[in-house]
Amino acid sequence: MSSSRLPQALEKLVSLLARLPGIGERSATRLAFYMLSQPESYARELSGALVELVERVHFCVDCHMVAEGERCTICEDPSRERTTLCVVEGIADLLAFERSGAYHGLYHVLHGVLAPLKGVGPDELRLANLRGRIEALGTSEVIVATSSDVEGEATALYLLRHLAPTGVRVSRIATGVPMGGELEYVDATTLSRALRGRTPLE
């Protein structure tokens, strides 16, 4: 595949698409040709949607969930219990909890887990405002819902230490969650059982 034979505009799109996770040069080329084969309106709609996305959607300043305003709809919802905070790795995990309907408190999305091998340390996680939030909210319990693999567990242990100065009670969801399992794919029953069976972290 000699990309130098392609028009520059196509090459540019390919290189941008190839930056997406899980997309290589080949799939990127395939996608670009697909877009080219579609009616022009598709490309306009897609680019419009992308622009709208970055202009209108942000991360909530409190919990780092996606939000249209400064805060997300969960943080803004007066009916949520404001004394429990559930810490999750990613937005997909938050949505899994929401689908289960078993949890009524607030969240804190880390956008990752500690993984020194991948260069992810505490500074790479959205941790900076967590202690401040706990104090401001008067949180009585933090539930750590990271996955049960090495990185998820180490992150939970790190949080325990990180939150010690606040004096808040820290608990861990019970492992009804399969070993090494991705929270995102766990069914609602398992998740709500895991939530009920949470244990204090020590």
Binding site: L114, P116, L117, V150, A154, R161, H162
Partner: protein, 370 residues
Amino acid sequence: MQLLALEAERLRNLAPLRLEPHPRFNVFEGDNGQGKTNVLEAIYLLATLRSFREARARNLVCWGESDAWVRGEIERRGIRRKMGVELAKTGKRAAIDGRVVDRLSEYFGHLHVVVFGPEDLVLTKGAPVNRRRFLDRAIFNLHPSYLDEMRAFVTALKHRNELLRASAGRGVDRALLASFDEELIRRGGRVLWRRTRFVSDFLPVVRAVFDDVTAGAHAIGVDYESLAGLAADADEDACTELYRQRLSEATPSDLRQRRTTQGPHTDDLAFSLDGFPARVHASQGQHRAMALALKIAELQLADSVLGGPPLLLLDDVSSELDRGRNAQLMAHLSRAAGQIFVTTTDRRWIAVDGETQVFRVEAGRVLPEP
């Protein structure tokens, strides 16, 4: 446990393979380089999704072809299953009863094999990593979940080593290190406990088998060398606590050396022959006999734990043993239960009575003899 049928295509130099093994002894006879060991590799691949000669199973694909597959029908505790492995450009795929498994770990637990071949001399003679690999495979055969446990330990170890490595110059975040220490201790404690338990069940069996194969001429000794002070009967908590202690003692020096110096990744098995370290004192033939005793002991232990002996694959074993020891081995195998697959250049080496099917192997073709 029995292999009822075996099929393979585009595997190494083998012509499309179809065979129905004998429930007891299967002898693959042929000249050098004809494909005898490749047949054993097909069986091993079916059971473990790996090769015992190559680091990458991918290398088993016939030169110039893009994929290969092996299928088999097995029976275990009265249940028949079809198993299959495909080696494609895009990776390995494994299926049970026609259903492709999502995670390879779901595939294991139905067919167990123990292989013994010329490369197993490294067991008693080579570097410690070979003995750890032996331990890990043997434990995994008995407890399939050990694979994930071991992987988790290795992951924790890599993260911790990375923290130590990156600490150069800018110091280490203590809270971060402590979190991965704790994970390392928990995962490592589990591995130490599995190994401790395995070794204590295993040792008496090794001694008995070695006695049997050498007609009591020599005494074998095996020591599990692990954390200082690890008791042979330690439970999981004791293993974990001991690891916690050893790791914390070693941390200052770990920080200086920027690697983890204590843990299961430095374990070893020390062999002795009549009280002397085997690595330097044993002859070639004695090394072979010891390694063979290890493998047969592994098989016997698996027999009692799994409720049926794994398949035994013996690659070219007889040509390297003297006549007396070979006769002992054959006598031992005739007494033991299970399905056995042997390769040889000359069937006269394989002195087992009846219950035997001989296959001629020539230029990749495998034909049963009447």
